[in-house]
Amino acid sequence: MALACACAPADADAMLAVALARDLDRTFEHVVIAYRARIVTFVARMLHDDARAEDVAQDVFVRAYRALQTYPAERRASLRLRSWLYAIAHNLTRNAFRDAPPPSDSLEYDDGMPRTGLVDARPGPEHLVLRAEAWESIGDAIARLSEALRPAFVMRYVDDLSYEEIAESLDQPIGTVKASAHRGLLAVRAHLEKNDD
């Protein structure tokens, strides 16, 4: 079955959805292959716990499979696979988030606004070279984002989902997810620049 292709992700998703409608069991491994790295990364960033990320990500796919088994073919065919899988991943990580909230020196106030002292309104350097430790810092900064900002930030800037897809995954209005992703970006940027000094 030649489902993996060089076409745009949305087209590949549509092909996968049609194939899922035709034969769930034979198509499911293609879904796992297409999304496992993204879902593991998303879960790892959400939990800030690489060790648990794979187990939770496996559970995401198992739950997806169980749900697909109950869907009629036409519902599978019209599925927007990417935002649907992220929605499952978000739901599963939300519980874990409650168990282990971000560190107390989080990057925002309780209302989700970045701490003013950390915010730098100037545009960042256009060609900032990111060293390995800077990448580590990004992971660190993401871990300090609150539950309100983290999912939208990770989906937008790590996983490259469209705002429409994020809104669908999180079941929030587009305006809200745009604002959350932007605030998250400001907070992460401020954290990185502060650490760069």
Partner: protein
């Protein structure tokens, strides 16, 4: 830090997935996977789960294999897209390479599992009687049950049930047929001509130059029976009279 170079950085924080990620997902879904593999008996289907190879089978086509699998194990098995380490090891082993292959025997009874693990101890180039397996497992009267368990071996070739033969050194049954069993054993070095000569002469053991006595199917001893230092023996008593001790490899008599 701009949006653009943040995105440039995201590859660095992407996680790799472990090689058994998909297998574990499939285990959670209750699905096994299969692929094709070349073997000494031609093309076979190989199915596996997260724990090991669950089936090796010849079938007319994919549908026939899937139907057989469903009936035998009451689980669905789907054609794999990717080959993971378990399937790769199975393919290598079926091609004759000496690699460890985990097997999934969860659908076999505890007795069947013990029989299969015992059969797995028999090395290439050797064979053992059904009764030998029964005796080794502490159930000397269970020869027929041993035959049945071997007949239900879900992973023939990987667990070499073909190396268990009749006491008279004829092949006995095999999932791929008696001719295939003989062909396999011959390809592994067993000399049926020499074994038949021994059986016709009423010889049950071979006395060896190292002071031990063996089953005729212990490696190539049957081919040496007329060589200096070797002798055909009709009974264990005769072996004792020659001052011979049982071979520790083939354990020809009860301890």
């Amino acid at each position: 830090m701009t949006e653009t170079n943040l995105r440039d950085a995201r590859d660095a924080i992407k996680r790799d997935v472990s090689p058994d990620f998909t297998a574990k997902v499939f285990a959670g879904c209750g699905l096994d996977r299969y692929t094709n593999a070349a073997s000494a008996l031609g093309e076979v289907f190989v199915a596996w789960s997260a724990t090991g190879v669950s089936a090796v089978r010849v079938a007319a086509d994919e549908q026939a294999f899937e139907a057989w699998y469903d009936e035998r194990f009451a689980r669905r098995c789907v054609e794999a897209v990717e080959i993971d380490s378990i399937a790769a090891a199975a393919r290598a082993r079926l091609q004759g390479e000496d690699v460890d292959v985990p097997v999934d025997l969860r659908d076999c009874s505890p007795f069947e599992q013990r029989v299969l693990h015992k059969a797995a101890e028999v090395l290439r180039g050797s064979a053992r009687p059904y009764g030998w397996v029964a005796r080794e497992l502490g159930s000397p009267d269970a020869t027929r049950a041993v035959g049945n368990a071997l007949g239900r071996n879900p992973v023939p070739l990987l667990i070499p049930c073909h190396r268990i033969i009749r006491a008279d050194c004829t092949t006995g049954g095999y999932v791929f047929g008696g001719d295939a069993k003989r062909k396999l054993l011959e390809s592994e070095g067993l000399d049926f001509g020499a074994l038949e000569t021994m059986t016709r002469g009423g010889f049950r053991y071979v006395g060896c130059a190292d002071g031990t006595f063996c089953l005729p199917t212990c490696g190539d001893v049957a081919t040496r029976v007329s060589a200096p230092g070797y002798v055909g023996l009709r009974s264990a008593k005769e072996a004792h009279e020659h001052g011979l001790v049982p071979c520790r490899q083939c354990r020809p008599i009860a301890a």
